[in-house]
Amino acid sequence: MKVVTLSSATIGSKTAIAIQKATDYLKLKFTEIEVEMIDLREKDLVFSDGRNYLEYTGDTLEVASKLMQADAIILGTPIFQASIPGSLKNIFDLLPEKALRDKVVSIVVTAGSSKHYLVPEMQLKPILSYMKAQVLPEIVFIEGQDFNRQEIENIDIHFRLEKLVEDTVLMTEVYPEFKRKQEALLF
């Protein structure tokens, strides 16, 4: 099983801190799983121009390929201007239409205000659905006040991040069985 954790903010630190936490927990609890964290602050991606993702080069090809090869993606997003950041939308635009088919995707959100709570529900989940992801219904929503000195201070967030990681792994484990039974009915 390959899991990619993605911090999609190109500036700031909260999304990366949360995704690093989820990544650490994943590595600690599930040692047999191949885990890779992608931090978009460290990558130099070009804007999508409609090419097939295999035709890009450099960091763009590397990030797109890693996401395409993943069985599960833990997606970290900040909320900028009441929406997902352009850097995350660009990732979606770089990938094929049904790129997330048969992949489990779970969501971690960092936001400056609780008033942004429905942004991922209204703006991120429709995109993931369109791309055919198996999206976990529960998300982890983290506010600015949950952080202190570059760490997540609110212990409830730690609990919820751990549960999200566990559910992501469990769903990724059982999904192939669903797929196998679905395809066994075909030919």
Partner: protein, 169 residues
Amino acid sequence: MPIWRAVGGPAESAIKAGRQGVPMAIAMLGGPVSIFKRSVMAYRESLAINGYNPDDFPVATTGLFYAAKDSQTALREFYPYVNKGIEIANGTGFNKRLFANGAHPKDVMAIGSPQQIIEKILYQYEEFGHQRYMAQIDFGGLPFKKVMENIEMIGTTILPAVKKYTKEQ
């Protein structure tokens, strides 16, 4: 030299071919005949609107072709190559459910027994009224032996039956 416009699924592409007044070759990877019929109709309508006589312009269809003793065998034998070929080309494989639908008589894919393929080609001929069909057999590393067997079945069984019917028209 006649230049054909190659069009994909959406009708907008077929409408442009009609506007240009050029023959149309439509790529049909998979899906119901009825969806592609919309494009063929839109093409002819577009020809007429733009001052051309639709009867003067041929339509070609293109699609995956694989014949075996029955549809289940055909699906099982051909799927791994199609999946691999599409994966190499696009980075994602061919959805197995979509491929399985290909055996249905009203799906565009020419997959099944020679008799089933004859019926599918003729059904599509009735629906599209097209002049040419191009079969994609060699794909994703299909062994040459299988390609030969398919060409053999086309020559001995499929083509004579199709020609017999289309000659009467």
